[in-house]
Symmetry: C2
Subunit: 324 residues, 2 copies
């Protein structure tokens, strides 16, 4: 007879998917409350800011903020699923954490709009809908992304004054990850190596900077909101870094084997624009091996942490297996 | 016989210009120390970030941060000129204030790069040199501006932890002023009303949002770093708002009567792109009257404040009389 104390991996996966769905709704509801309404003289700007966020998305980065917070507060996965993550967290800090979660999502969204511009990757399709510049023209696409970029920092810095210290640290995490030491550098080198032979070293640089640092920043912003100890912070740094790399390796693989309909963006676009990717450099099979090695490394760090790490482990598996 | 206790207005102007020159050098030295060196894989990005800042500029916004700080700390103009602004300010807060000053300059610079893009104002010349996209191409121009935008928030949030509270507030001032409630909204409406009849109400909206809010944010960031009282904060809010409007009215006038060589940007470009400006809407003479009225309003607020307001008064006169 099966006991409820020892859930199977399938139970955990079901629990994780349920948790993801709950948190996604929570983040989205809060996000809509923080986004400007399309009225007044700049109504069109506000509309263009909402458009790419209304297209949905997995909301991985904001959920990682909340997971990082849960992890550092030693919240087990059963408690997290039962909505007990916030137990004992004062209302102001709850709101500040939700603001941090929404902030990383709008900053991520700004970067997608700029990446899709004609002068960058020139993409027409994103999350199954025409890209921002296709709908609003280039000028408003650039400006609405700029507005989302700033909004991320406005969101966190508009938290209650008593949360100033964790917010101050979370703002730095976000800025370092998305600025010249992180995401933008990755995008610059990515563009530079289109049509140019690259090495694994270059590719690792691109993946780490363009994607992994912002994914990791999600967990680290959560750690900052929890005022984490050094050990937990270092642990999330390592796990977040590798989770981010898995995310990008899988992204590269999906661009080769994925389905445009399912992904909501054009499959094969990396090859068409001669992007430097893992499949292009070392082939599909070795790319999959690379992702599997990263997974094992993450699991060896997280497994000893017990229940509080369970959903991060599930997140790792889920990102590895995703088809969109 | 003239006494040294009653300086003439010419003395004050000379003192102001000397102060401006000293503070400009101070800000620039600190700015260079915070900007990334062009090395590593993203060297080109770092070079493109430095380029528009190396072109010089009046550094009005960062100096306003320092003036706002001086004002709220009751530092008289003689003390400010003698370099006594920092007396009694602990080293960490001095650095944080300089970081805030540099932050508003890099954010202002990001906005100029995006404004000059072909899909916006399509300008070839800025501060006497080719615009960023002319030198680095559109993709790197967009991305280097994005990097400067984030860098502003990184700069302030990298201050010492003990300054977290004033930095938290200064970050919000900057974000609200340059984001959707401010600068970006102004740029969107500005672009919308090219080739379209506008009213004074629309024009006021554009000036207030596109320019005045960021100018005002300089003073308010200084006030936040000084942990100003409500009265001083409100006073700088009003003066900053009107100072920003003067700046933009004079900008519009200079675009008509100014010299391309002296300004380092193309004169007549507003008319060529059918921009909504004061001279276009109400004529040159009435535009000058508008600026003079704003000046008188600022002076009536600042004069009762005595010595601590003197350099802000000089700044008002100087911005009104500038020819570049």
């Amino acid at each position: 007879m099966k006991t409820t104390e020892q859930p199977t991996s399938m139970d955990k996966r079901t629990a994780f998917l349920q948790y993801m769905s709950l948190r996604r709704k929570e983040v989205e509801a809060f996000l809509w409350s923080l986004l400007p309404q399309p009225d007044g003289m700049a109504a069109k700007l506000n509309e263009a800011m909402r458009y790419p966020l209304e297209a949905g998305g997995k909301r991985i980065r904001p959920i990682l903020v909340l997971m990082g917070l849960d992890f550092c507060r030693d919240v087990g996965w059963r408690e997290a699923l039962a909505g007990k993550s916030w137990d004992g967290v004062e209302a102001d800090l709850q709101e500040a954490a939700m603001r941090a979660a929404c902030a990383i999502e709008v900053v991520h969204t700004y970067s997608l709009i700029h990446d899709d511009l004609p002068c960058m990757d020139d993409d027409d399709l994103r999350r199954g809908r025409p890209t921002s510049h296709k709908v609003y023209g280039e000028a408003l696409a650039v400006l609405s992304a700029d507005a989302l970029h700033t909004l991320g920092f406005q969101m966190i810095s508009s938290s209650a004054e008593r949360c100033a210290l964790p917010c101050f640290h979370a703002i730095r995490e976000l800025a370092v990850a998305c600025g010249y030491p992180g995401m933008v550098a990755g995008q610059v080198v990515d563009l530079e190596y289109e049509n140019k032979p690259g090495t694994e070293e270059v590719l690792e640089y691109i993946h780490l900077h363009k994607t992994a640092k912002l994914i990791r920043a999600g967990l680290l912003m959560g750690a900052q909101m929890a005022e984490a100890n050094e050990r937990d912070y270092a642990l999330l740094e390592e796990a977040g870094y590798k989770l981010g790399l898995i995310f990008q390796v899988v992204d590269d693989i999906l661009d080769v084997v994925g389905d445009t309909q399912v992904m909501g963006k054009q499959a094969g676009s990396d090859e068409a624009s001669h992007k430097l990717t893992y499949p292009a450099l070392i082939g599909l099979e070795k790319s999959r091996e690379r992702a599997a090695v990263l997974r094992n490394e993450i699991l060896s760090v997280l497994r000893p942490e017990g229940d509080r790490a369970e959903f991060l482990i599930q997140m790792t598996e889920w990102l590895l297996e995703r088809n969109a």
